[in-house]
């Protein structure tokens, strides 16, 4: 909200500069977004009156103007078109400075002396959107006879400091000059001065047969109507125009300007109807019964029966609280006005404004909630201004329909609670004084502070709300900083969180970078990784209102995002990548998705690079599992996982369950992701990994006796898996076999086609004595013989 300092000062004494004032307001809860200084750096502009306008002898588009600036008359050459003799205009004299450092100097224009420049509003730093129609495309025509030669910046009130406040949603009462002045008074100490409202009023009274009926009580709490006759539509005075301009409102005419002025002063929107257009001598506030309505911006709006309308005996006049109708609008021809100061219900206005996609200053104020007791004050204030400006004759009386009067509430606050929650020690009296600055009258009743809550403070509902008021006006800065007392808590991570740290540490140690990708993906992402039609991974948790198709479903696999990252890095010429992500996948619990979905923690690893292959990735997975104390797993060839190369893919099996899959990415998937370097990825059920992690370790005695190693090489068919050999080795090695190691796999010369030679080193050891050759030979030969028998593996010579 914009608040010109000069306007605020009308209601409260602010004896400090704008910046310290802004800081104080921020610290009491009215956050200042910024302070704009108007009219800075402008000098040498004076008020002038045009005496004559002559054509320029040498230039068709220019004229020579004589301007009276009080002490003398200047000759100015101008291209302006909107000036007439007798107009009052701002004149930049020789040496004048305009915003942005522009300097005006006496000179010659096409052979004629020009002693300055006539100024437009824009040239004096006024924003385009608030410049009135009459001055829009030319010189600022001043509609008041100001003192000639007076400083224009002063006379036109162009100098000011505009404070922009951020008002929180619980404080709609602050959305006005008076509301902010009230906060300012409480913050800096001072008395709030309300405008003194007194009406002369005409002897003529409002027609007693004119009536207002509120049919829609859910949409309207109060309707105040005043009638003004003999209206003279003209521009409003400069001071009013200046204030409106500074809060971002374009001056239109006296009546519109007065309603806007009062809306900004009090926060109560007003609306003026051309009374001649109202039929049946009555106003009815009712639910919309018509299908559409043309608002004053000449747009035909579709209505429905959840909207409140202002109507007369025959037709609709306005969409309540949002916008008036095109037909009943006040125009230059208007002579009689019905002034509406109503209280519409916030929820109703919010819904209407949303449905119409039409947000106005009035609707924005109504939807936040306005005190209905304000309606009559604002109506009277507007009428006072109408009288003051000579804009019309205010008829005696008012039609005020206010079925349920809003009364002040009382609330008891325990002072000891205030101190206990804030951690301070204020006396009862100090608290009462603080509340008083906010116009909350209070007194001690039976040990409690009985607060009388003004009707504009609906946000004060509970004790905590009062505690906040005391705290913020006392100043959060004045509250000490203490450390929590009470039982000392032991902080820390859960077992699962520690395992996750360990997982990441190990993956980092193996060169894998952690990546972070969105939880939502495109439904097409599963097509890209070739997920089969019937797969559960096609059963998505879908967003109702996604940003776009690309982020419209919750992911059922982390692979698509990982591949995307690999692809992005490949396209950016990153030569080698090792990456991992731990994140959730989402599987609906029920078809209707009424319950929370399952969120299953997954781990994906991906890599590519010149020296990488299937076994680098497999080694990383093994390395990780081993570090986490998981050993009883094995790899099994997987030929049907459609994301991976059918001959280069394996499942990791743990306790009979598939823990995950490791493999080279299928060429078709590579194509889908625009990958040109081979990628190897693993997708693992991370929850299961955590479940099986054993971080406790036991020391095993180091060997005391020497080991004996024996090698063998066998030739087997190339369809035999190494694992089959190893199963035999383990089975027959007994207690003596300490370890085994594959050291060569060979195909080619001397090996029959369709066969391969596999070579192992076996290490034997006894923990209590030195083994003999005979003992070892016995076991070793059994192993070789078993391999020969079960796999047809001939010992290679």
């Amino acid at each position: 909200m914009l608040a010109p300092l000069s306007w605020l000062k009308e209601y409260v004494d602010i004896n400090m500069a704008a910046i310290p004032f802004a800081d104080k307001m921020t610290m009491s809860g009215s956050k200042v977004e910024g302070v704009e200084v108007l009219g800075e750096g402008i000098s040498g502009i004076v008020i002038g009156k045009i005496l004559s306008i002559e054509p320029h002898p040498n230039a068709e588009k220019l004229t020579i103007v004589k301007v009276d600036i009080g002490e003398k008359t200047l000759q100015i050459v101008t291209g302006a078109k909107n000036i007439s003799v007798g107009d009052y205009v701002p004149v930049a004299t020789d040496g004048a400075k305009l915003p942005g450092g522009v300097e005006i100097l006496k000179g010659e224009l096409r052979g004629e002396v020009s002693e300055g420049m006539l100024c437009s509003q824009e040239e004096l730093g006024i924003a385009k959107n608030v410049i009135p129609e009459a001055s829009k495309d030319g010189i600022w025509i001043i509609n008041e006879a100001l003192t000639l030669g007076a400083d224009a910046v002063e006379a036109l009130e162009a100098k000011d400091e505009i404070v922009e406040f951020e008002i929180t949603s619980n404080r709609p009462d602050c959305l006005s000059m008076i509301g902010m002045a009230r906060e300012a008074a409480a913050t800096i100490g001072g008395q709030l001065k309300y405008p003194e409202i007194s009406l002369k009023e005409s002897d003529e009274a409002i027609d007693p047969s004119f009536k207002v009926t509120i049919e829609d009580h859910e949409g309207c709490r109060r309707y105040v109507a005043k009638v003004i006759k003999d209206v003279v539509i003209k521009p409003s005075p400069l001071w009013m125009q200046a204030r409106l301009r500074k809060v971002g409102i374009r001056p239109i005419n006296n009546i519109v300007d007065i309603t806007n002025y009062v809306m900004h002063e009090y926060g109560q929107p007003l609306h003026a109807f051309d009374m001649d257009y109202i039929e049946g001598n009555q106003i009815i506030v009712r639910i919309a019964s018509e299908d559409s309505f043309k608002t004053l911006d000449d747009v035909e709006r579709k209505l429905n029966d959840s909207m409140t309308m202002i109507a007369d005996g025959k037709k609709a006049l306005a969409i309540a609280g949002v916008m008036g109708g095109a037909e009943s609008e006040v125009t230059a021809k208007t002579t009689t006005i019905l002034l509406e100061s109503a209280n519409f219900v916030g929820d109703r206005i919010r819904a209407t404004s949303k449905k119409l996609a039409l947000r106005t200053e009035a609707s924005a104020k109504f939807e936040k909630g306005i005190d209905p007791n304000l309606a009559i004050v604002a109506a009277n204030r507007a009428c006072q201004l109408i009288e003051l400006l000579g804009a019309g004759r205010v008829l005696k009386g008012v039609v005020d329909t206010y079925p349920v009067v809003k009364e002040e509430r009382q609330f008891d606050v325990r002072p000891e609670r205030v101190n206990a929650l804030l951690g301070i020690e204020l006396s009862n009296e100090e608290m009462i004084n603080i509340l008083a600055t906010l116009e909350i009258k209070s007194e001690m009743v039976a040990g409690k502070i009985r607060a009388t809550i003004p009707t504009f403070r609906d946000d004060l509902q509970q004790e905590a709300d009062f505690i906040e008021e005391v705290g913020r006006i006392f100043g959060f800065d004045n509250i000490p900083a203490t450390m929590m007392r009470g039982r000392v808590a032991v902080g820390g991570k859960t077992n699962g969180q520690m395992i996750e740290e360990k997982t990441k540490d190990n993956l980092n140690a193996m060169g894998f970078n952690e990546i972070l990708t969105y939880s939502f993906v495109s439904p097409k992402s599963v097509d890209k990784i070739r997920v089969p039609e019937e797969s559960i991974k096609r059963n998505f948790v879908r967003l109702l209102n996604p940003l776009g198709d690309e982020t419209s479903v919750m992911r059922t696999s982390l692979l698509p995002n990982l591949l995307e990252v690999l692809s992005r890095n490949q396209s950016r010429k990153v030569e080698e990548v090792r990456a991992f992500e731990i994140g959730s996948i989402f599987i609906p619990k029920s078809a209707e998705a009424v319950d929370l979905p399952y969120e299953i923690s997954n781990l994906v690893l991906g890599l590519y690079g010149d020296n990488e292959d299937f076994f680098t990735l497999k080694g990383a997975v093994e390395g990780l599992l081993n570090k986490l104390g998981i050993s009883d797993y094995y790899f099994e060839a997987e030929k049907h996982h459609t994301t991976f190369h059918p001959g280069r893919c394996a499942n990791v099996i743990l306790n009979g369950h598939i823990l995950g899959t490791v493999g080279e990415i299928h060429p078709l998937v590579m194509e889908n992701f625009d990958l040109h370097k081979k990628c190897y990825c693993a997708e693992l059920d991370y929850g299961r990994i955590v479940m099986h992690t054993r971080v406790d370790k036991l020391y095993k005695q180091l060997p005391k006796y020497p080991a004996i190693t024996r090698d063998f090489a066998v030739v087997v068919r190339d369809t035999v898996f190494v694992k089959e050999l190893e199963d035999i080795i383990k089975e027959n090695g007994g207690d003596l076999l300490e370890s085994y190691k594959l050291f060569d796999v060979y195909q080619g010369n001397q090996i029959a086609e369709g066969h391969k030679s596999i070579a192992y080193t076996l290490t034997y050891r006894h923990k209590d004595r030195t083994l003999t050759d005979e003992e070892v030979s016995k076991v070793h030969e059994t192993i070789v013989a078993e391999i020969n028998q079960k796999l047809g593996g001939a010992l290679r010579e």
Partner: protein
């Protein structure tokens, strides 16, 4: 014979002196002292000497042998030293050539920031709590005292799955879930992913990360909140960091405050980073609203608490001077490797 020995000694001395390499020296040793060496030969001839001569010549012979041995030994040391020096000099490297670093991976910078924050709070006795990313409207809004018409509930702000389910917009639901399960004293932080219906640009992301904290116990005050956040700010942003509480309004807390930290780039002097104010916005905080405590089955007459929440993405971007939030989610390895 004595003359012969003296001659041998001189010859050997000369050859030892001239020997430049250990192999040559070895040859000299064999030549004089070896089994068939010249000195050995001479000594072998001692048998023919008279009993008077033998001890005399024997003494001389021993002296000669010892002297040759001594010379050999010292020459050997010299040569070894020389050879070592030669080898060392031939083996010298251009030590300014690049090192071969083992490839070590990095945590994502955002997670690094999150971990750093977590550690600070763990040190203050907080536990880390987690919860689902898909939440119910109840836990995300209703239980947290968000009014039914609060703009944050709009579809333009929140991603909906259906009327009942949404993607959490904050990690506060974790706090509600914790309060429902645990009895005070409670001291938790809940870091995690959050979602808001924002089109991605340099400062907005539909997915972001929050870290929220909650303390509930008897006698917890706003002063305690100030104390806790002051300790946090000093740890995270530096020992000289000051904080400032600005009253604000959040449905979840009452009183509420926005908390600024003195700018850690300019120590509060005012710079382009803090737009000259000397302060940067750090987090939102306040005393847990009694409605929220009640919603979770905790009696606000007995217990009080405070809560705070901060956007990790923003803090990490501030700290590392990252100017575009989208960089965090692109996962360019050249980006991640910088941290």
């Amino acid at each position: 014979m004595e003359a012969k020995l003296k001659e041998l000694q001189q010859l050997a001395q000369q050859e030892i002196r001239e020997a430049g390499a250990s192999e040559v020296l070895e040859k000299v040793r064999v030549k004089y002292l070896g089994k068939k060496g010249e000195l050995t030969e001479v000594l072998r001839g001692m048998g023919s000497l008279s009993a008077e001569e033998r001890p005399l010549i024997g003494k001389v012979a021993n002296e000669v042998r010892e002297s040759i041995e001594e010379m050999l030994a010292s020459a050997k040391n010299l040569i070894k030293e020389k050879e070592l020096l030669a080898r060392l000099s031939s083996e010298s490297l251009d030590v300014t050539m690049p090192g071969k670093a083992p490839a070590v991976g990095k945590r994502h910078p955002l997670i690094q920031g999150m971990d750093e924050l977590k550690e600070i709070f763990i040190g203050m006795g907080f536990r880390v709590a987690e919860g689902p990313e898909v939440e119910t409207v109840y836990y995300n809004f209703d239980a947290l005292n968000a009014p039914p018409n609060h703009p944050s509930r709009d579809m333009s702000d929140t991603f909906y799955i259906n009327d009942n389910l949404i993607l959490r917009t904050q990690t506060s639901p974790v706090q509600v879930r914790t309060m429902e399960k645990l009895k005070p004293p409670i001291r938790i932080i809940s870091p995690g992913r959050c979602f808001r219906n924002d089109t991605p640009d340099a400062t907005h992301s539909p997915m972001f990360h929050q870290l929220e904290g909650l303390v509930v116990d008897k006698g917890i005050t706003l002063a305690d909140l100030k104390g806790t956040l002051e300790v946090f700010a000093k740890h995270f942003l530096g020992e000289h960091t000051k904080i400032k509480f600005r009253p604000h309004n959040f449905p979840f807390t009452e009183p509420s405050a926005e908390v600024d930290a003195s700018c850690f780039k300019c120590q509060g002097e005012g710079c382009s980073f803090c737009k000259g104010s000397g302060w940067v916005e750090m987090l939102g905080a306040g005393m847990v609203h009694p409605n929220v405590l009640r919603n979770c089955g905790i009696d606000p007459e007995v217990y009080s608490g405070f809560a705070f929440g901060m956007g990790i993405d923003r803090l990490v971007m501030m700290k590392y001077e990252i100017d575009d939030i989208r960089l965090l989610f692109e996962n360019d390895m050249r980006f991640i490797n910088q941290f």
